[in-house]
Symmetry: C2
Subunit: 255 residues, 2 copies
DNA sequence: TGGTCTAGCCTGTATATACAACTTGGCGGG
DNA sequence: CCCGCCAAGTTGTATATACAGGCTAGACCA
């Protein structure tokens, strides 16, 4: 294994990513300009330019000619995080989002939760249980566990006004996510919270999210099958001209 | 609206993408080298390099130092297309995939199908109806319509040996996709084909796919909720070190 | 015949330089 | 006081040049 030195543009990228991930640079903060990097890092401007350009493509920073380079707002970064926040999704449809907090407590992780978060049995986690409403109709039951060490102020938040996922992304950029989607009839307690009929199928999304290299939250999102559907739209990067608004179109089609 | 000329590296990218999309360049074909582009397109090598490098990042081509640049195999290009092919998914689990073709016929598009494919009523489409089995157990009912003009040889294919999605991606790269996932109890005919119990929830994926700028196929994929789940794994591009194999891990966790 | 070595092509990276376009802040004139 | 203009800083693009390293085909030698 000859590791070999990484190219310098990659070293620059890693440096900036580390500063963002560590919280040294927060959203909207100014990133050193290309000329500043030329001086401090002893590289040519083209090398700095390549590093920053790639970070832009990857969604880490935003650049404005004439102004500078700024750390991007991570909520807008990828499909994952867009879909992540049900409040945004509802408001994008022009509807009203409200939520009810059923539980917000500190617990000791056990069994499945401990395994999912890669922690020992008994380590502190926060347990959040919320119902999200779209125009007053229940649309998601969010059953979430959060690593306590990751979000120390979790109990003081008012999750009626900021969703857990918005709160979590504000703490630190989420770097990796995985999810499983399945259809099943949820148990009676879930059905009751979501005002579902007996035998009504539900759509469940089980999602685990990483930040700074470790899993920080594990969520089970239950939806009534009759009132909710997951939509996705995929465009390969760099397409010459892309047709937009296809999703809206398909939604109409299916309605 | 001052359109303004596109930058030259973008013109180069568009040119190559057009040649790939039009079929002029097929998978594994050799793309002109940077020096050839320098001569024929009258640009500097760095500009050609940037264009080809970005096409590499976007998955259009693969480059090997010392050999050249080649059109990428589109099956490996994006999440969408990976998930697209159920046979690959099953084989990746180490299981046996078989399928039964229930229908393979030419029809005239009507109603929803015509609207989904952006064509007039009565235009020719192919209708495919298949059941996919994993180790002999039915796991997906594929109800697909394909624009006849796009895939003229569709009726001669043996879809027991090549799945429709593999066939379609072989014809032309799929450029855009959108999907809706929902949970519902399918109708009796579908339940019977998938050997589902009455009232058993099903997971339905309705997917529409674009190629060369127009929708070419519209598929309804029904799965038994008790035997199938959708998995996804999202890593932001360019992460310094990414932990892999998380999906496998979560699958175990949920089993 | 079979093995080795090298010349030539290819990509990957790094630098220096140049010009264009955009943004902001400050200066000066009305 | 306000408006307009200009200078400085910043990003975006383009070019020329250079060197390193991978790959291959063909020459060359045993």
């Amino acid at each position: 294994m000859t590791a070999g030195a990484k190219p310098r543009y990659q070293q620059l990228k890693d440096l900036i990513i580390r500063r963002i991930s560590s919280g040294d640079l927060g959203p909207q903060d100014r990133v050193p300009s290309e000329n500043e990097l030329v001086e401090s890092m002893n590289v040519s401007r083209m090398t700095a330019n390549r590093a920053m350009r790639e970070l832009t493509d990857e969604g880490y920073v935003q650049r404005v000619a004439g102004r500078g380079t700024f750390v991007a707002d991570f909520r807008a970064r990828s499909h994952v995080l867009e879909v992540h926040n049900i409040a945004d999704e509802i408001e994008r449809r022009g509807h009203a989002h409200t939520s009810e907090v059923l539980q917000q407590s500190r617990q000791h992780a056990r069994g499945e939760i401990a395994r999912a978060l890669h922690i020992e049995q008994g380590v502190d986690v926060f347990h959040l249980l919320l119902v999200h409403f779209e125009n007053g109709v229940p649309i998601q039951l969010e059953d979430r566990h959060v690593l306590a060490e990751f979000a120390p102020n979790c109990l003081e938040q008012d999750f009626r006004h900021i969703t857990p996922s918005a709160y979590l992304t504000a703490i630190s950029p989420l770097q990796e996510a995985e999810q499983v989607v399945r259809a099943a009839v949820p148990n009676a307690a879930v059905r009751q919270r979501l005002q579902m009929a007996d035998n009504e199928p539900g759509l469940a999304v089980i999602r685990r999210t990483w930040s700074r290299g470790r899993p920080v939250t594990f969520a089970r999102l239950h939806h009534p099958g009759s009132r909710y559907e997951l939509t996705g739209h995929y465009t390969p990067p760099g397409t010459p001209k892309s047709t937009t608004d296809n999703v809206v179109e398909l939604e109409k089609l299916q309605a």
